[in-house]
């Protein structure tokens, strides 16, 4: 079994805003495109033009309906990828040391040349964030675009994960969650960001910002103050008001 580093210098991760995510899957496909072309083996697709097409994705968006106690049902879009946990069970379960957590930034990676495709890590991950590539027989997972974020062949502004760069709704943020002064830590603080399934004890680095309350327009102001006061109930009264109002312009 594989040891985690005793500490990491930084805790790079994502902050995902569930209030803003429109469920467009831009992040899913951008990730697929970048990681097919880059880190390790391509993300393959089985039966891509047939029944039950099944490919490897490092990031998927799920949608859930929420039924609040009062008011209409709501739909929440929930993007999910590796959370780069501090106590990552996928690493400790690895029999070959292929799964590891980087000391310098806390990113959890799979060294594909050491991966034997046993699948224990996917079984150990409570989030279902790892996927075995059926063509290559190795485990694939979010790399936090480790080959983008330090890549000197990219302009500095583009040294962010592909999913963050592409998100049209600005719902994905990247940074050091180990630094309380970082923009992402501040955002988590301001918006009450949460861990996913904290009871699992994995101490995920990625955080989720909860949806803001919905459908409160009628409840914001009590009673009649909310409604518009009529100037007249009949057209004749309205025209009299109109004439006076025009004088004031």
């Amino acid at each position: 079994m594989t040891q985690l580093p005793s500490r990491t210098d930084r805790k790079l991760g994502l902050v995902i805003d569930l209030d803003t995510c429109v469920g467009c899957h831009a992040c899913v496909i951008s990730c697929k495109g970048w990681n097919t072309e880059n880190y390790g083996a391509p993300l393959s697709d089985q039966n891509p033009y047939g029944a039950e097409p099944s490919g490897t994705f490092l990031n998927r968006v799920h949608s859930y309906e929420v039924l609040p106690d009062h008011g209409a049902a709501q739909l929440v879009h929930f993007p999910k990828s590796c959370l780069h946990c501090e106590d990552a069970p996928c690493v400790t379960v690895c029999p070959t040391g292929a799964s590891y957590k980087r000391v310098e930034d806390g990113i959890v990676l799979v060294n594909e040349s050491d991966c034997i495709g046993c699948g224990l890590c996917a079984w150990a991950c409570p989030y279902g964030a790892r996927e075995m590539d059926a063509a290559e027989g190795v485990m694939k997972k979010c790399t936090l675009c480790v080959d983008r974020i330090y890549n000197e062949n990219l302009p500095e502004i583009d040294r962010v994960p592909a999913c963050v760069r592409t998100c049209p709704a600005g719902a994905r943020h990247f940074g050091d969650l180990g630094d309380p002064d970082s923009a992402v830590s501040q955002l988590v603080e301001r918006r009450g960001g949460i861990d996913l399934m904290p009871e699992q004890g994995t101490r995920p680095v990625n955080k989720y910002l909860p949806p803001r309350p919905r459908d409160r327009l009628e409840r914001e102001v009590d009673g009649t103050a909310l409604f518009l006061e009529p100037v007249a109930d009949e057209p004749s009264g309205f025209f009299a008001w109109l004439d006076k109002a025009l004088e004031k312009i």
Binding site: D19, C24, W34, T36, Y49, G50
Partner: protein, 939 residues
């Protein structure tokens, strides 16, 4: 095992080169960076410098690489050898294909140019294809707007000189309240998401009005789960509330709209209901300074909204009087409309109050001086931070035109259109209806049409009717049935051509329009029409030429197939003459260019049209000596001039002193300049010209300088649309041009110059209590996405979504099957529960279902087994009423296909092997795609 980190190269080479072009995975025209390796496209992301998407890109855009490499791509021109619809073709050379097309088309042009019906689908080159049709001489040209957005576009143009999406957008940086109406999960894709993000970031409120709470409506702060087809009534209830409370922008209304314009009040006059005008034809208002009538644009005039004008015993009242009288009626009170709309009255009142609060109590001014068309200088710009965006959800109803009008009237009453924080036009808009061409409908053998086929009628004299009253166009656009059909009626072309009504055609020529599948109402019926023969065995539609890049369902029905390129292999121009990529603060246009050359024997369709135009000797496509004028589309883009100095692209033209923008002579290096600039051109609107554009001298002068117009064209917003009244007058018996008697009532009632609402439940639809809708998913664009292995893993089939109440009533669980029956047909499909849904509405994703054999999918693909089309349930005609007539399932003003008026009933069905109906497979000239994909470029 102790912690061990392998060496890792964190700076691998990304690509050999980045080629910047324009996306075409949907209609939004985002800028993309194609990262090249070994001369192939390896990866696509968004262009950070691009005015539309500023670096972001949606799922479709990133999946473009899969579309570009699709196994469904056609490989060479095809000639049909089996029966139509069999999919049996032989490959032929381009010389043979173009000779066949020329041999078919030349005799038509010589004798009856109208016997060519040339219709393009999701074409982004309509200023070019329309020009080609005009030179050919056929009036039978249009694109897909008639079944998509014509209500939205036309209502906007006639009311305020532009509409949503390509015409304008919310002032994302300043708006404090956004209301979205009937917006599916796109149009426009990335800009809306980016805008919503801006609003969310600063805590501005978003109200989503939609029967389905998904996508943008899912993130809206407030969801209004309206009953389909009642948006107009809801909007007019908001108008009622605002008027009743006097919460409208009187200064704005008096200065910039026709609210003060006097309406002829003499019932005996042939001009009853038209505007009073002076001898120069200028609309008259009462000047508050003098109490006397004066032209609306007279310097110093203070137009009065309240005063009436009495002359010869007749009172002429301003538009404001008519408007207030109508909408103050208790018929529009929230309590009166609540049940119909499915929205509680207190919620309607609360929304009206919130609109008023934000528009007036959160109003602000911009410190920018500007001068209006009357010569008055304003020290500041008055902000109204309320904005609206709407799309097909409110448009695709038979009351859609008037509903879209109502929405525009609402935002004008609030004074927010073109105000800071409100809705803003994008150049070349604003452009009022009278600044557009009128329709040109009458063919002359062997000659071009005397103007563009499509346009904006001003009255009965612009209708496309022969002297005997019969329609001049195959789609019956611009007739008494639908006078303002500015985008044509593509959805009627095949059924009319099949019926020989109003006349027979010879050749149907289409581009990128999947009419044998998801782009037609009554799909199975349309397929029959395409294959139907007369007693001699000849096809009733004699010849069909089709161009597409992929093996779509429509290809099988063509006699001759002209294979198009993918979007990464072609030149295109996204032109200011057409549907540009401008933003409110900049005029912009763009190109596509071949970042890779095709590896198949295919040609860009527009280049083929240049070639075909030359072979046919069309003016505009041949030189004086008869030689081809343009080698290809790139040559046309560079060298064509629509007016002297005005071409398809505005950037980098040749002026008197070197390069100039907007106006200028053609520049042989223009396309190179575009490529070097990332595929686009943008020039900023000056700060003092950025708001109040229709009335702002600085904007009007800038627009003339850039060549968007040739003279300043200030105008008033038309709360009251006079051209509609002209048609009503005809229906009341005035004038020489008279509608047939059976249409008089419809014209009198529906072509009201002030917005109205009417129920679209047609006779014969009783017993069908549910509304059935489709919408397009964000990750998929119509049928194109089905061939894309990455996207089809997101949306591989489409269940029918039912609200919880209906699931319970019918004892249904997810995966159960139902029969869905409309007055026209029945389908049997799997269901899924959705709680965040209007109780009387069911819906599914549009065009996920595919025909077996098409799109290089295997026959057992879920798209072809469980996937289905709602189209089968929708007929292009309404159920019979017993009056001996068949009425179109269209808006009576514009002819827009009323897709969303569909009414159905459901009943539980036994589990099925496949969604019904199942159409027989078509043979495929491309075969199915591979069994596995695992690719990496540059290895």
């Amino acid at each position: 095992m102790t912690h061990r980190q392998p060496p890792l190269d964190t700076s691998p080479p990304v690509s050999d080169e980045v080629r910047k072009t324009t996306c075409y995975m949907c209609a939004c025209r985002c800028g993309i960076d194609a990262h090249m390796k070994d001369g192939k496209v390896a990866y696509i992301d968004g262009n950070r410098d691009h005015p539309i998407n500023k670096g972001v890109l949606c799922a479709k855009g990133s999946a473009g690489i899969m579309q570009h490499n699709s196994p469904a791509r056609l490989r060479a021109p095809l000639k049909r050898v089996g029966p139509r619809g069999s999919g049996e073709f032989v490959e032929i050379t381009w010389d043979e294909a173009l000779q066949i097309a020329t041999d078919w088309l030349a005799p038509i042009r010589e004798k009856n140019p109208e016997k060519l019906a040339f219709f393009t689908g999701r074409d982004q080159s309509q200023s070019f294809t329309g020009y080609w049709a005009q030179q050919f001489g056929t009036p039978n040209y249009a694109a897909h707007g008639g079944f998509c957005s014509v209500n939205m576009a036309t209502a906007g143009i006639y009311t305020m000189g532009g509409s949503f999406w390509e015409f304008g957008s919310p002032d994302w940086d300043r708006t404090r309240l956004l209301m979205l109406f009937g917006v599916a999960e796109d149009h426009d894709s990335n800009p809306i998401k980016m805008g919503l993000a801006k609003l969310k970031e600063r805590g501005a409120r978003i109200i989503g009005v939609n029967p389905v709470r998904s996508g943008y409506n899912a993130v809206a702060d407030e969801w209004v789960g309206i009953t389909p087809g009642t948006d107009g009534l809801f909007i007019l209830a908001l108008v009622h509330e605002l008027l009743r409370a006097g919460r409208i922008d009187l200064d704005y209304l008096s200065r910039w709209t026709n609210a003060p314009v006097l309406v002829n009040g003499d019932p005996k006059s042939p001009e009853y209901g038209l505007f009073l005008r002076n001898e120069d034809g200028r609309e008259l208002v009462i000047d508050r300074n003098t109490g006397r009538p004066a032209p609306f644009d007279q310097p110093g005039v203070r137009p009065d909204l309240a005063a009436t004008y009495r002359k010869a015993g007749i009172s002429h009242r301003p538009v404001m009087h008519h408007l207030a009288t109508r909408y103050l009626s208790p018929d529009y009170a929230p309590e009166a409309v609540a049940e119909r709309c499915g929205i509680p009255a207190p919620r309607i009142r609360a929304i009206a109050a919130e609109l008023a609060r934000v528009a007036f109590d959160e109003a602000f001014t911009l410190e920018r001086e500007w001068t209006d068309f009357r010569g008055e200088t304003h020290k500041t710009m008055q902000g109204r931070p309320v904005s609206f965006h709407a799309m097909r959800g409110i448009g695709a109803h038979a009351n859609g035109f008037q509903t879209c009008r109502a929405l525009h009237v609402l935002q004008i009453l609030l004074g927010s259109v073109e105000a800071p924080g409100g809705f803003r036009f994008k150049p070349p808009y604003p452009k009022p209806a009278e600044a557009h061409a009128r329709p040109h409908s009458f063919a002359t053998p062997g000659a071009p049409l005397d103007g563009p086929a499509l346009g904006y009628p001003q009255g009965p004299e612009d209708l496309a009717l022969y002297d005997d009253g019969s329609p001049a166009r195959i789609d019956k656009a611009f007739t008494w049935e639908n006078p303002l059909s500015a985008h044509g009626l593509m959805h009627m072309v095949i059924s009319n051509a099949h019926a020989g009504d109003p006349y027979k055609i010879n050749t149907l020529f289409m581009f990128m329009a999947n009419m044998a599948w998801n782009s037609s109402m009554n799909t199975a019926g349309v397929i029959e029409m395409l294959t139907d023969t007369d007693v001699t065995g000849d096809y009733l539609i004699p010849r069909i030429i089709y161009s597409d890049a992929y093996y779509s369902e429509m290809v099988a029905y063509a006699d001759l197939v002209l294979p198009d390129t993918t979007y990464l292999e072609r030149f295109d121009c996204i032109s200011l003459l057409d549907r540009p990529i401008s933003e409110p603060d900049a005029a912009a246009d763009a190109i596509r260019w071949p970042v890779v050359e095709p590896d198949r024997d295919v040609r860009g369709f527009q280049s083929v049209l240049c070639d075909l135009g030359a072979r046919l000797g069309l003016p505009g496509f041949v030189n004086a000596d008869g030689s081809a004028k343009y080698a290809d589309y790139a040559d046309y883009i560079t060298n064509h001039e629509r007016r002297p100095g005005i071409g398809p692209l505005a950037g980098w033209r040749l002026g008197n002193k070197g390069l100039s923008h907007g106006r200028g002579a053609p520049n042989a290096a223009q396309l190179d300049s575009y490529m070097n600039n990332g595929g686009f051109f943008a020039t900023p609107v000056p700060p003092d010209a950025q708001y109040f554009k229709p009335w702002n001298n600085a904007y009007q002068d800038w627009a003339v300088e850039l060549g968007l117009s040739d003279a300043p064209q200030p105008y008033l917003f038309q709360l009251y649309v006079e051209p509609l009244r002209r048609f009503q007058l005809a229906a009341e018996g005035h004038g020489d041009l008279q509608p047939p008697d059976h249409l008089r009532a419809q014209i009198r009632e529906r072509l009201d110059p002030l917005p109205i609402w009417y129920d679209t439940l047609a006779e014969g639809q009783e017993g069908y209590p549910l509304h059935a809708l489709t919408q397009r998913p964000m990750a998929m664009y119509h049928s194109w996405g089905g061939q894309n292995p990455w996207l089809r893993q997101i949306h591989g089939y489409n269940p029918l979504y039912l609200p919880t109440k209906l699931m319970r009533e019918h004892d249904l669980r997810d995966g159960d099957w139902v029969h869905v029956t409309s007055p026209h047909a029945r389908i049997t499909v799997p269901v899924m529960e959705m709680a965040a849904l209007n109780d009387t509405t069911i819906w599914t994703w549009n065009a996920i279902g595919k025909r077996k054999g098409a799109w290089a999918l295997k026959d057992n693909a879920p798209e072809a087994t469980r996937g289905f089309l709602l189209n089968h349930l929708i007929h292009e005609l309404l159920p019979e009423r017993g009056d001996g007539l068949r009425w179109a399932n269209s808006d009576p003003v514009t002819g827009q296909a009323a897709w969303f008026d569909l009414r159905v009933r459901i009943e539980k069905a036994a589990p099925q092997g496949e969604s019904q109906p199942v159409l027989p497979p078509v043979a495929s000239p491309v075969g199915p795609g591979p069994d596995e994909l695992a690719w990496k470029m540059g290895q």
